[in-house]
């Protein structure tokens, strides 16, 4: 059986950043398994700009951003195998991988970085009633068809969900001469970034209808139209608000789900809120030596944060390998609890005994909060307060905690204090 110090699963932005960091930390024997034909992951189909503002202080397209990393992978001599699909990972980090070139193999890793990304929530999972005709795509699938395959599905479209890919596709399809009739969003707020609403909808006069959803799909073989209705605060359609929109295409941008089937197979515990694994501040899961980063851990808003987080995962995986899987200090674990308005935090535990650097705590909020503050407490004792003009569920929030603050603490909570600013 082949052995590798580090196996990185996924050659998108997360996997590449993790591998590069580990290599720079002195780990030589690394392999990246990428199921697609090239490195870059979903960035390859994101031909719009807006990537890299944090990392490179430039506005890059997705493929350009990916290339900055793939060039490093190549120049550092990191081994990567494309067209290679990992079929399973065991708790002992035995990995089964299959490809056209190399057939079916099992390899043993000292450490594993999970970087498989996420998938889009399909129509079936949304329980939209109606028929099941041709012409219903997730926004990402349509993006792949238009940007990579070079053909445009449909002439008249409705988009359900205002996730970022949906907003980007509203603009993209408009530029291809397609009529985008409207974007309907179930929630009373958008699922995408403010800048995408402005640049992709407002600039093109595409209406965004908040608190609206698709309640019926018509057409036997091909999509003929959809019925949109307003929903009440409980998400139930309001009678009498139904409007029929003839269209040949319905795009869905209704949320992303981390792809953790391999993770589950390895015996890693999954957080039911993020659908990603529970990790500590080193981004290590509850199976020693298995780390996670990027959208497989929790869905990010900006790729820049994916790269930053994944670099830390790669760095910590390198430490793990160098220490032969043993921790230097006896661990003292601080649990991170979610308080008012906070859906989850990554990490969910902090190994204070080992933490030497500042701890990045990332999370998403439950609703729209204006003039509020993020407050970190230990019991009644306030450790940290960060004021925010506005917080929305579509954007990731973070606080940075100095390890010194956590001495003599066993549990901290992160909460939103509303309207205190």
């Amino acid at each position: 059986m082949d052995k590798h110090s580090l196996v990185v699963i996924g050659g998108g932005p997360a996997g590449m950043a993790a591998a590069i960091a580990a290599k720079k930390d002195g780990i030589d024997d690394i392999v990246i398994y990428e199921r697609d034909a090239q490195l870059g992951g979903i960035l390859n189909q994101c031909i719009h700009n807006g990537f890299g503002l944090h990392t490179f202080k430039e506005e890059l397209t997705g493929p350009e951003y990916a290339e900055r990393f793939s060039k490093q992978v190549i120049s550092l001599g990191i081994k990567y195998e494309t067209g290679s699909m990992v079929l399973s990972i065991s708790r002992d980090k035995e990995i089964t991988v299959v490809s056209r070139e190399n057939g079916l193999r099992t390899v043993q890793a000292d450490a594993v970085v999970l970087a498989m990304g996420c998938r889009e929530r399909p129509r079936g999972a949304l329980n939209i009633p109606g028929t099941r005709p041709q012409g219903i795509y997730t926004a990402g699938t349509a993006q792949k068809l238009v940007n990579c395959e070079g053909w445009v599905p449909g002439r008249e479209i409705v988009i359900l969900g205002s996730g970022d890919i949906g907003l980007i596709m509203a603009r993209r399809m408009t530029l291809e001469g397609v009529r985008v009739k409207l974007v309907a969003e179930l929630m009373p707020y958008s699922g995408g970034l403010k800048r995408n609403i402005v640049q992709c909808l407002d600039d093109y006069g595409i209406p965004l209808r908040l608190s609206h959803t698709v309640i019926d799909v018509k057409g036997k073989r091909k999509l003929e139209g959809v019925t949109i209705a307003e929903v009440d605060s409980g998400g139930k359609p309001i009678q009498g608000t139904e409007e029929y929109y003839p269209c040949d295409t319905l795009l869905l941008s209704c949320g992303l789900i981390p792809e953790n089937e391999l993770t589950l197979g390895a015996g890693v515990t999954i957080n039911s809120v993020t659908n990603g694994p529970f990790v500590d501040d080193t981004l290590q899961t509850d199976v020693p030596g298995i780390f996670a980063c990027g959208n497989v851990l929790h869905v990010h808003d900006l790729v820049d944060f994916v790269s930053e987080e994944s670099g830390r995962a790669g760095h910590n995986a390198a430490d793990y390998i160098k220490n032969n899987g043993c921790k230097a200090n006896s661990a003292k674990i601080v649990t991170v609890c979610v308080g008012n308005g906070v859906r989850y935090t990554v990490p969910s535990t902090i190994d204070v005994g080992n933490a030497s650097e500042n701890i990045h705590l990332r999370f998403r909020v439950r609703g729209v909060y204006k003039g509020s503050a993020i407050v970190v407490r230990s019991g009644e004792h306030e450790l940290l307060r960060k004021k925010k003009k506005i917080m929305v569920p579509s954007e990731m929030e973070d606080v940075i905690i100095k390890p010194g603050l956590l001495e003599d603490v066993s549990e901290i909570s992160v909460a939103i204090e509303e309207g205190t600013v």
């Binding site: 699909m85 057939g103 079916l104 041709q134 359609p237 089937e261």
Partner: protein
């Protein structure tokens, strides 16, 4: 327009039509199957509970009882010959209170009268030992170990492929418009030319009444009874190991909860008589009924894991039973609602008998009973899988990540006899796109493969039809 002459023409390429064609292909007969859609398994056969029922539900003496029990017995050999997945996972009918016990006893007695083997009545506690997710207030169950699960697509496709291999002609996009009698039997007019046959076998599903009436008096009518279902991710597939039924009513066997033979969880169906025989839409009301009613028998079904919902139409005859019989060479297999899938192997044999008693054909010397399906790479052990990939490297290129379906399997599904021509056709043959992302990732690649193999443009590739 072309004119073709056959010994027997089968109308409808659902499971009954395909199974009948396969049984007829054992004999020295020219047989054709006419199908209005572009593929086999496009109607009732593609959207049902996928259960091989034990046979305790139908009234003794009915055709439903006879063919169900016979069909169930045949499934072991049929599944081996056709190389299709089939598993006897057992079934439970739940009884919620002591006062309903006579009803359960009645079902038991009926099962015994129908010849169902292995039936027993178990206490709620005993049943929960076997099925921990059974609702707490289940008082007792009727347990039927011979009940099984099957893939209805594969079963229909396998019957069709085997029939095709043994010389049966299939004509798709061929809708029968009229039938007239002639000296030699029947003239069948279709949207795709004229066919002549000594014998016509009517397996037209929800339209069997219409097809019957084309050549004689309208003796019966078929109503479409819609059933809505939800299908859950494989991570929910082991919630129950047997098929859990509620007490049957005159509308059917009620909402069941069952693992599928591929490891998903299926919940449904509803039962609603409708007028439009093409209406396979799901409804808000139907799906919420599935949710509420299923909770009576099984607790904590994780509905957050639904990957798709769909509905199918049962071909319900006004006679209450299957209508299978020979009227001067026009053979009906009509009103084949549940337990139709379970009965298919037995109905097919019976139809072959009826045809043989008229035409007395010789048995073929070279009939090939054994079909070899497309290898299911994901289910093979590592050595076997590695060996196959060595022989065919495209079996190592995964296209559908959720179901781990390779490029090789997809190409096989297109190149085989009666191969796939649409995304749905590929999906039903090899499950690419059947998983939790519902073809989000693989459809661009499957479209590319279909376009290449069929020599068409990618935008011309259809989802169905």
């Amino acid at each position: 327009m072309k004119k073709r002459t056959y010994d027997a023409v089968v109308i409808g390429a659902g499971v009954i039509g395909c199974a009948a064609a396969r049984e007829l292909s054992r004999y020295e007969l020219n047989v054709a199957v006419l199908e209005k859609e572009s593929d086999v398994c496009e109607g009732t056969s593609k959207a049902n509970s996928a259960i091989i029922h034990a046979g305790f539900d139908a009234m003794p003496g009915t055709m439903k009882a006879r063919f169900n029990v016979e069909g169930n017995r045949l499934m072991d050999s049929v599944s081996k010959e056709l190389d299709i997945p089939f598993r006897r996972n057992g079934a439970m009918v739940v009884c919620m209170q002591e006062s309903d016990m006579p009803q359960l006893q009645k079902l038991y007695d009926r099962g015994i009268a129908n010849g169902v083997e292995g039936l027993s009545i178990l206490s709620g506690d005993k049943a929960r030992e076997m099925e921990p997710s059974l609702a707490k207030d289940v008082y007792a169950v009727l347990y039927a170990p011979s009940s099984g699960i099957v893939c209805p697509f594969e079963m229909t496709i396998a019957y069709a492929e085997n029939a095709c291999e043994n010389g049966v002609d299939f004509s798709f996009l061929t809708e029968v418009t009229s039938i007239s009698h002639c000296d030699d039997g029947f003239v069948i007019n279709t949207t795709n030319g004229e066919y002549c046959a000594k014998i016509v076998v009517n397996c037209a599903g929800v339209y069997a009444d219409k097809v019957h009436a084309m050549q004689g008096t309208p003796d019966f009518s078929i109503r479409a009874r819609k059933g809505e279902y939800m299908l859950l991710d494989k991570s929910a597939g082991s919630l129950v190991s047997s098929t859990i039924f509620q007490a049957p009513t005159k509308m059917g066997k009620g909402v069941l909860v069952s693992p599928t033979v591929h490891g998903n969880l299926i919940v449904g169906p509803t039962a609603e008589d409708i007028d439009d025989k093409e209406d396979v839409s799901t409804t808000q009301g139907g799906l919420s009924t599935v949710r509420t009613v299923s909770a009576n028998s099984v607790s904590d079904i994780p509905y957050g894991k639904v990957i798709t919902s769909f509905s199918g139409l049962r071909a319900t005859a006004d006679t209450g039973d299957f209508i299978i019989g020979d009227h001067s060479g026009f053979i009906d297999a009509a009103g084949i609602e549940s337990p139709g899938l379970s009965s298919a192997p037995a109905i097919a044999l019976y139809i072959a008998q009826l045809v043989c008693s008229r035409l007395s054909p010789r048995k073929k010397d070279n009939f090939k009973a054994q079909r070899r399906g497309i290898p299911k790479l994901a289910q093979l052990d590592k050595e076997e899988r590695a060996k196959l990939i060595e022989e065919r490297p495209d079996y190592g290129q995964i296209v559908c990540r959720c179901e781990q379906i390779s490029e090789g399997e997809i190409i096989d599904s297109i190149r085989r006899p009666l191969g796939a021509t649409t995304l749905d056709g590929v999906k039903r043959r090899v499950r690419a796109g059947m998983g939790r992302c519902q073809a989000g990732f693989c459809s661009p690649r499957v479209i590319e493969l279909l376009a290449r193999e069929l020599n068409i443009q990618p935008w011309e590739v259809k989802k169905n039809g």
